[in-house]
């Protein structure tokens, strides 16, 4: 073991989310309500980062939560944490919404308009979860600038890696590998899978 102390992720606090999902699969609305309380904040926060528009973001967050209710029985606890399962759905839906809404020309304009904005300087402050945020920030600082920008432009802005390559004026192949090795470095820093 290294001397690094890994803070427990959000999944280890509060109610056991796996049990709540299991009861939700049963049609237990009360359990779903508690599951909602645990994940809705992260869902809406992530969706809002990608979509920006508050009204649209709430709409997508609502869809995601209903999808959680609908597919609770399909969640496989051995495959990963509940938060990752829910946020993967949330991110996919937010990105699909962005891509569907944007005609090719709009997207080019969007790339041009947003390429100068640093992607990680506008975190909404909230006391709860500050430790996690601090740890995430610390780990992000451990990435090279190219790794960090590639990962964050894709994850928080919903850009495709082709768009990211254009924005960073970097060859496609390089962006592809930087996203991957950036995530590997983040994964190790956050202690995921260890």
């Amino acid at each position: 073991m290294s001397g690094v102390v890994h803070l427990p992720g959000p999944q280890f606090r509060g109610p056991d989310l796996k049990e709540l999902v299991s009861a939700t699969a049963f049609g237990d609305q009360d359990a779903f309500g508690r599951l909602y309380d645990a994940v809705a904040g992260p869902v809406l926060g992530l969706v809002r980062r990608v979509l920006r528009d508050p009204a649209q973001s709430e709409e997508v967050a609502q869809e995601v939560m209903l999808e959680v209710w609908r597919t609770a029985a399909r969640y496989r606890p051995e495959r990963g944490e509940v938060m990752a399962w829910v946020l993967t759905m949330a991110h996919r839906r937010a990105v699909d919404r962005v891509r569907a809404a944007q005609a090719a020309t709009d997207r080019e304009q969007r790339v041009a308009a947003q390429s100068h904005v640093p992607p990680y300087d506008e975190v909404a402050e909230q006391v709860e979860g500050r430790l996690e945020r601090e740890q995430v920030r610390r780990c992000l600082r451990g990435l090279t600038e190219l790794q960090r920008e590639a990962v964050l432009l894709a994850y928080f802005r919903g850009f495709s890696y082709r768009e990211v390559a254009d924005m960073l004026q970097t060859p496609l192949g390089t962006v592809k590998t930087r996203m991957r090795d950036g995530l590997i470095r983040l994964r190790d820093c956050l202690g995921v899978g260890s």
Partner: protein, 263 residues
């Protein structure tokens, strides 16, 4: 810049797309191509799962306060969204669009006997002599479907009982089991997901725990599903689950893999 690569290089290339895939940065048709690759590449799937976990930490750090109306809207919509059945989780990873239809449990079960009977009658018309046998089979099918329907109806009734309570536990390996019970109805139901699949010669069996004595409460074949437990609650203090020979046993023949208390 265009990619002109041979097949081997293209496969190596696909491996490198785990990061872009996990961040949803692939457009179609590349996303589809990578998902097909993922189905047969265990190390890629593992990496994608770890990246999903990693990114969820980034996402969760973005949590915002949620307007209370949103929860009210979501809860109000629940009745319009039909939940997927637990049994069919083999294709859990394929994203399915939300279908909003009024929730009606056991619809397939209700339709089945009619279809089975119609098919048998059609056969009987052509084959005369076989009619009696076919009719017997149809009756069996009908009886089975009726039992299924009664199960479903019983389960729904149990879930909506005003005093219904649940307890959940995990089995080694990550499977999850939940028991729901109602003292007023004197009934209990059980749901499990993610149980390891058993061979055809074995089955999961549920038991009422009468303060240490196990009373048979039904069989749960396959790797999960829901079951209205057979027999009354009486003084049971909980339920247990064991692995038994196919057909079940009168008494447990192995140590319980899960015990849940009615508490």
């Amino acid at each position: 810049m265009t990619d002109t690569v041979d097949t081997a290089a293209a496969t190596a290339d696909l491996h490198l797309l785990t990061g872009a895939y996990a961040t949803d940065a692939l457009d179609e048709p590349e996303r589809g191509r990578f998902e097909r690759h993922l189905a047969g590449c265990e190390s890629c799937a593992e990496e994608v799962a770890e990246f999903a976990e990693t990114l969820s930490r980034l996402g969760a750090a973005e949590a915002v306060a949620v307007p209370p109306e949103l929860k009210r809207r979501v809860l109000a919509e629940l009745v319009t969204v039909r939940q997927l059945a637990p049994e069919a989780h083999e294709d859990a990873d394929s994203p399915v669009p939300t279908d909003r239809v009024p929730r009606r449990r056991g619809r397939a079960a209700r339709q089945w006997p009619k279809l089975a009977l119609a098919a048998c009658l059609a056969l009987a018309a052509g084959l005369g002599g076989l009619a009696v046998q076919q009719h017997d089979q149809a009756q069996q099918a009908r009886a089975r479907a009726a039992r299924l329907e009664a199960q479903q109806a019983g389960f729904s009734a149990l879930l909506t009982a005003p005093d219904a309570r649940t307890a959940t536990g995990t089995v080694r390996g990550g499977a999850v089991g939940t028991v729901v019970w109602s003292s007023a109805r004197g009934q209990a139901g059980f749901l499990a997901s993610g149980l390891p699949a058993l061979g055809a010669d074995r089955t999961y069996q549920l038991w009422f725990n009468d303060a240490g004595t196990m009373r048979p409460a039904g069989l749960l074949p396959g790797s999960g599903g829901s079951l209205l437990l057979q027999g009354p609650l009486d003084g049971a203090v909980g339920v247990g689950m064991t692995v038994e020979p196919a057909g079940g046993s009168a008494h447990p023949t192995s140590a319980p893999i899960m015990l849940l208390a009615f508490a």
